[in-house]
């Protein structure tokens, strides 16, 4: 499967410009992590990819043909987990998945058992959804997204509400699935991207600030990350983003990201989080910056 996004602009009726002339290409297998602050345009991009919105300008094609002309085909190959969703509280977990399977035209009854197993919900299959905790409801959401072995999986904040162990588990499941599919994972949790994604998209203010591998993003940040000591009440050095602060006996040890590190700062090895912060706060990032995606 191949998806091409070509010069997409999305302006909502209220006038808000959610996406500005973005282009990207993805072909299976691919596990793309989409990073960006709130309001960056991540969810808008997701909705465009599932044909939930019509772009103001530009085109999205699926396997070379316009997406909107293949909506039915797209949805038959799609597994989607949005950020906010509801469930039918009066049904049991199994019944709800059965219902979703029917909607997806999946006739194989083993498909439900399979996703229940994968999401560790087998024991809860007869439990009514209204009795589930928030994390369990999230797992139901993931399970329905995985129903029928879809070729395109779009996950918007899928690990919200999951404990760390479950997060790791699901990361691995997604990673496993990405071996022969396109998986788009939108998240705030940088570790999720770092651990499993082979490609990172950083979106900010409707623009793609970075499109490449995590290693490439980190590489860009070398010599732009450092640590420095300060006293309580001191302001942050100009042009610096504080990543973290640790209060020590000697004062406050801050980890900072900047275009030009101040003299007091000591350069250190950047992490993906540092790289992400550096990327979205770089002053010259006004246009789409595209790095060649790494070949898989």
């Amino acid at each position: 499967m191949k998806i091409d996004v070509s010069h997409i602009t999305m302006i909502y009726p209220s006038g808000k410009k959610a996406l500005q002339d973005i282009s990207l290409s993805a072909e299976s297998p691919n596990f793309i992590g989409v990073l960006g602050p709130n309001g960056a345009g991540k969810t808008t991009l997701m909705k465009l990819l599932i044909a939930g919105l019509l772009p103001t300008k530009g085109e999205i094609s699926l396997d070379g043909k316009p997406l909107l002309s293949q909506e039915r085909y797209l949805k038959s190959q799609l597994g989607y987990l949005p950020q906010n969703f509801g469930l039918y509280d009066e049904l049991t977990v199994w019944q709800f998945l059965d219902y979703m399977a029917a909607l997806k035209n999946i006739r194989d009854s083993k498909a439900i058992a399979e996703v229940l197993e994968r999401t560790n919900m087998t024991a809860l299959r007869k439990t009514r959804i209204r009795r589930l905790s928030g994390g369990q409801r999230q797992r139901v959401g993931i399970a329905q997204a995985l129903l029928g072995n879809p070729q395109l999986i779009i996950l918007d904040e899928p690990t919200v509400g999951l404990d760390p162990e479950e997060r790791v588990k699901f990361r691995n499941i997604f990673s496993e699935m990405a071996q022969d599919k396109i998986v788009l994972l939108s998240t705030h949790i940088v570790e999720d991207v770092q651990a499993v994604c082979n490609r990172v998209l950083v979106i900010h203010d409707g623009l793609i600030r970075f499109d490449g591998t995590p290693a490439q993003l980190i590489a860009q940040t070398v010599h732009h990350v450092g640590t420095c000591h300060a006293q309580p009440g001191d302001d942050a050095p100009d042009g610096c983003q504080i990543v973290s602060k640790v209060h020590t006996a000697d004062g406050i040890r801050s980890r900072i990201v900047a275009e030009h590190l101040p003299p007091c700062a000591q350069s250190c090895e950047p992490t993906l989080e540092d790289a992400y912060l550096y990327c979205i706060h770089r002053p010259e990032n006004q246009k789409n910056i595209r790095e060649e995606p790494a070949a898989i």
């Binding site: 799609l78 949005p82 969703f85 909607l103 997806k104």
Partner: protein
């Protein structure tokens, strides 16, 4: 969509619609109000005809229809509620066409409506049998269909169309239904006013009662309601398809 899948979805929708306290409460209320109507009003006979005449039966059915219509609208309102919209975020990502969705909702609402109507009709039959020993129910069939079907199609169609625009409009429609009870003549949607007034204009037959007839105007109005309702249902599906992509 595959037939089995379609049926499965329909079963789940029916389960959600029928197996809840609200519907059971409405069914009970319908039954009680129908019984009171029979015991206090229809028992006297409509327009000087027998209580078990087709005229009286149709008047009775027409008087219970507003409650059934409101029940259908209540059910439809749940399809356009905030909660349902949240679930639709998931279901919209499935290859489930808006036309199928509207069809399933229509069938579900129809079955609910039918159930309620059956209860009402059975009560009448029981009432007639018990009180008057009357058993000749065959003449009731066609008038029942004539009253029930157009009413349901129109109310369902309008309900779905308005609900797809705004959930609150369904409640406005409910109020309109209660006002429509007072409309008489051929455009009487529920028929109670029509069937209680027409016999007064007809000559009495050999048995002292006017023969049951339905005017062409009334039938034409039913056809119009059917067409309108069907158009609304189609429009709802079309609008849903368009709306799902609107920002």
């Amino acid at each position: 969509m595959n037939k089995m899948c379609f049926l499965k979805i329909l079963c789940y929708e029916l389960r959600r619609a029928l197996m809840n306290r609200l519907f059971l409460g409405l069914l009970l209320m319908n039954g009680l109000s129908a019984w009171f109507l029979l015991s206090y009003d229809i028992i006297r006979g409509t327009a000087y005809t027998a209580p078990f005449s087709v005229w009286s039966y149709c008047t009775y059915l027409g008087r219970t229809l507003p409650v059934a219509a409101v029940t259908v609208l209540l059910l439809l309102s749940s399809y356009y509620s905030k909660k349902q919209k949240q679930v639709e975020i998931l279901t919209a990502a499935a290859p489930f066409s808006p036309f199928d969705q509207v069809t399933i909702r229509t069938v579900t609402a129809g079955i609910c409506f039918l159930l309620i109507s059956l209860v009402v009709i059975l009560l009448a039959l029981l009432f007639y049998m018990r009180l008057f020993g009357f058993r000749n129910f065959a003449p009731f069939i066609l008038p029942s269909v004539l009253l029930l079907l157009p009413c349901f199609i129109l109310v369902n169609g309008l309900g779905q169309l308005l609900g797809s625009l705004h959930c609150g409009l369904i409640y406005v429609l409910m109020m309109a239904v209660l006002v429509l009870c007072n409309v008489t003549g051929v455009f009487d949607l529920f028929g109670a006013g029509y069937f209680s007034s027409v016999p007064l204009t007809l000559p009495a037959g050999a048995d002292g009662e006017p023969a049951f007839t339905v005017g062409a105007g009334f039938i034409a109005a039913r056809l119009l309601y059917l067409a309108l309702g069907a158009a609304c249902i189609y429009l709802t599906a079309a609008l849903s398809a368009r709306k799902s992509r609107k920002a």
